[in-house]
């Protein structure tokens, strides 16, 4: 048997008529999943160089995100929020990557990156006002919940169309290089986005130009109702990186230490001028796509069972407990603190009025042109 046939078989393509088929990355072991902790929270590989304070901080951020998620979901169910995009199960992917960022780096998020935003310094109050679409929302109530951002935190505004932010990150990296800034543009998207033309354009442009971009693909198994098996045929999305001529790495997205290690390495690689990197974080969307979705129509409940055992928070807590740096009392405190912060911020935010009607006509252009001024007066009952 010639070597190419071995590779074909290794990739499960024994029926392939091709003899010179391109070596699948998986045959080279590149699809191996990077993992630091097993599902019991036991080290299986050397952990990143982080002190106890950092380990605790990583954990506390994941808890904050989980508490936030639970509260927002319940607010939506009570009719106090119009819509919400939950991210339960993706805490390690969000916090592990956010933790590795520097202030000068850029984040181009999808709409499921609330944890990254909070860690980036985006005020909780700012996020709540955006979710409520009130007069204190930086976005001035112009977008659905979870589509927020601000240049102040180098956190771009999420879009609903999937993947459009990918080439934007490439452009931001281009700006940084033109100005000789050592900043990296990171971009978050899901498995669904990897089918778009924007993904291809962004990956290819970044690779050709060798730009400092880190592509964070949160492979949570689903593009709304479409499972991965119906989205792509390659074994791992990280395999795609090789086709673009950039390194790709696949990490256990529910292992915050693995995610942090990969993110750290990817950012260093990009920052040093070596070009872009693709990081696939394998995780599971534990909740619905959004509060408008009903996953019971397409996802059997049993499918989630193995993922419950991989919960990123439980797993990391076991690790911290085994090190003797986390206790039940601290667990309770972490939950209660975030819960209280949210309650306090909500009390304030829910009292705020909606945006002023005339604001509808602002920011279409740098200055309000005559036709918008006319339409504003018309709406307000003037001439």
């Amino acid at each position: 048997m010639v070597e190419s046939e071995v590779m074909v078989q290794a990739a499960g393509l024994a029926q392939s008529p091709f003899r010179l088929i391109h070596t699948p990355l998986s045959a080279n072991g590149a699809s191996r999943m990077v993992r630091v902790l097993d599902e019991e929270g036991v080290e299986v590989a050397p952990p990143p160089d982080l002190g106890d304070e950092d380990l605790i901080s990583l954990y506390e951020w994941m808890v904050r995100l989980r508490v936030f998620d639970t509260r927002m979901l319940s607010l939506q169910r009570q009719g106090r929020l119009g819509f919400f995009v939950p991210s339960s199960g993706e805490e390690a992917a969000q916090i592990g990557t956010a933790y590795a960022l520097r202030p000068e780096d850029w984040v181009f998020p999808a709409y499921r990156e609330q944890g990254v935003a909070l860690h980036r310094g985006f005020p909780l109050e700012g996020i709540l006002c955006q979710l409520l679409g009130n007069s204190h929302d930086y976005m001035k109530g112009r977008q659905m919940p979870d589509h927020f951002g601000s240049p102040k935190y180098r956190f771009a505004v999420a879009s609903s169309p999937v993947g459009t932010q990918i080439p934007h990150a490439v452009g931001a990296a281009w700006s940084a290089r033109l100005r000789r800034e050592a900043s990296v543009a990171t971009v978050y998207f899901g498995d669904g986005a990897t089918s778009t033309g924007d993904f291809h354009a962004g990956m290819n442009f970044a690779a050709v130009q060798q730009l400092p971009v880190v592509f964070y693909c949160k492979n949570n198994g689903w593009a709304i109702s479409l499972p991965c098996a119906k989205q792509y045929r390659c074994e791992s999305l990280a395999d795609r990186a090789i086709g673009y001529g950039m390194p790709g790495v696949r990490v256990d997205g529910n292992d915050v230490l693995a995610v942090y290690s990969a993110a750290q390495e990817a950012l260093e690689w990009a920052r040093s001028g070596s070009g872009p990197v693709f990081v696939e974080m394998v995780t599971q969307r534990m909740g619905p796509h959004s509060t408008a979705d009903d996953p019971t129509r397409y996802r059997a409940a049993e499918l989630l069972e193995p993922w419950k055992k991989k919960d990123p928070i439980t797993r990391f807590r076991r690790y911290l407990e085994s090190m003797g740096i986390w206790s039940a009392a601290e667990e309770e405190r972490a939950h209660a603190e975030m819960d209280a912060r949210i309650t306090e911020a909500l009390e304030w935010a829910e009292q705020l009025p909606p945006p002023d009607t005339s604001s509808m006509f602002e920011d279409v252009y740098a200055e309000v042109p005559w036709h918008l001024d006319e339409q504003r007066r018309e709406l307000q009952g003037g001439e």
Binding site: W106, F108, D137, Y138, M139, K140, R142, Q143, H147, G149, S150, P151, K152, A156, V157, S159, P161, T164, I166, P167, H168, A169, V170, G171, A172, A173, W174, S175, A176, R177, L178, R179, A185, G197, D198, H200, A201, G202, N204, F205, V208, Q209, E362, D363, V364, Y365, A366, P369, W370, H371
Partner: protein
């Protein structure tokens, strides 16, 4: 002043602006080494280097998408889309992202980016090298749409577009690229303000509203009808959106008769908006129904291009219709 064609005038505008502001970059297909398929960017890469004049892979989503990211973070990209007919892959990036980033971020982000693209027929380019897609972009809140018709305006309007902070679709009438020659100011501070129409010819009998490659045809038609004693007033709209409504209404109120000329198909074309604006604001001044001389509502045909496009005869017939009413 120097006599230049439109390609040379645009090239000079880019050259001067890149010298003035080192945040400006030019990106697109074949814009660097080749200098663009129409040579508008010729010599820029030699002068400003491969970092600021970038040949990109063939993907309009990537070109416009990357330009948005650049513009959001302090670079001032001037994009070339090789033909307006090829702009559609980037439609989502233009309509949903470029045009909306200021609005949807509550004014926190902006995307000062000029997208230059050759448009229109008259070069035997068939369906994929002749279209006039301006109406899609006029309809898109957040964009400015600019179309020059002379080399001097091409230079001055492009510079004005580059210097302001909103995204601009800058449509270049490719049939005029080399055929239009004109005195062009060489002063690097010469700019032509956006949102101001140009009185291309004064007249008292009929207002003709046109832009781009239709303007010289309207001026030709004016000469023809002047022999019979009819004086056309030709308004070159220049910035299609936001519209210089005062220039349009001023002329309409003077003449009471309107002919609108564009290459694009008629239904929901830019002329429909002009006609509606006039009907809403100056119908009492009209002495005849508005006439539109446009491309028909068909795809752009190759062999029958001369029949498809507005020409001097068709414009003259349009003028006769508003006069005979």
């Amino acid at each position: 002043m120097a006599v230049m064609n439109m390609v040379q005038a645009l090239n000079l505008a880019l050259r001067e602006e890149m010298r003035r502001d080192d945040r400006i970059v030019v990106i697109g297909e074949d814009v660097g080494r080749l200098g663009g398929v129409f040579r508008v960017t010729e010599g820029l890469q030699q002068e400003y280097g491969e970092e600021r004049v970038v040949d990109t892979p063939l993907n309009e989503i990537g070109i416009v998408g990357a330009a948005i990211g650049m513009a959001m973070t302090g670079t001032r990209p001037c994009v070339e889309i090789q033909f307006a007919d090829f702009i559609y892959p980037a439609f989502d990036q233009i309509v949903n992202e470029l045009a909306k980033i200021r609005y949807r971020s509550g004014g926190q982000f902006s995307a000062p980016c000029v997208i230059r693209t050759p448009y229109g027929g008259g070069v035997r380019g068939g369906h994929y090298h002749s279209q006039s897609p301006e109406a899609y972009f006029v309809h898109t809140a957040g964009l400015k749409v600019v179309v020059p018709s002379t080399p001097a305006d091409a230079k001055g309007l492009l510079k004005a577009a580059i210097r302001q902070d909103d995204p601009v679709i800058f449509l270049e009438p490719k049939r005029l690229y080399r055929s239009a020659k004109d005195e062009v100011p060489e002063d690097p501070e010469f700019v032509v303000p956006l949102e101001v129409a140009r009185m291309a010819r004064e007249g008292s009998d009929v207002t003709v509203l046109a832009y781009g490659a239709m303007v010289p045809l309207c001026l030709e038609a004016a000469k023809v009808v002047a022999q019979g004693g009819t004086e056309l007033e030709v308004i070159d709209i220049r910035t299609l959106w936001p519209l210089d409504i005062d220039a349009v209404l001023g002329s309409v109120k003077k003449t009471g008769r309107v002919v609108i000329v564009h290459e694009a198909p008629r239904a929901c074309g830019y002329g429909a908006e002009l006609a509606a604006q006039i009907a809403e604001r100056a119908i009492d001044s009209l002495q005849a129904p508005i006439v539109r001389v446009t491309g028909p509502d068909t795809p752009f045909p190759y062999a029958l291009e001369p029949q498809y496009l507005p020409d001097v005869d068709k414009i003259v017939r349009g003028v006769e219709r508003v006069l005979k009413y």
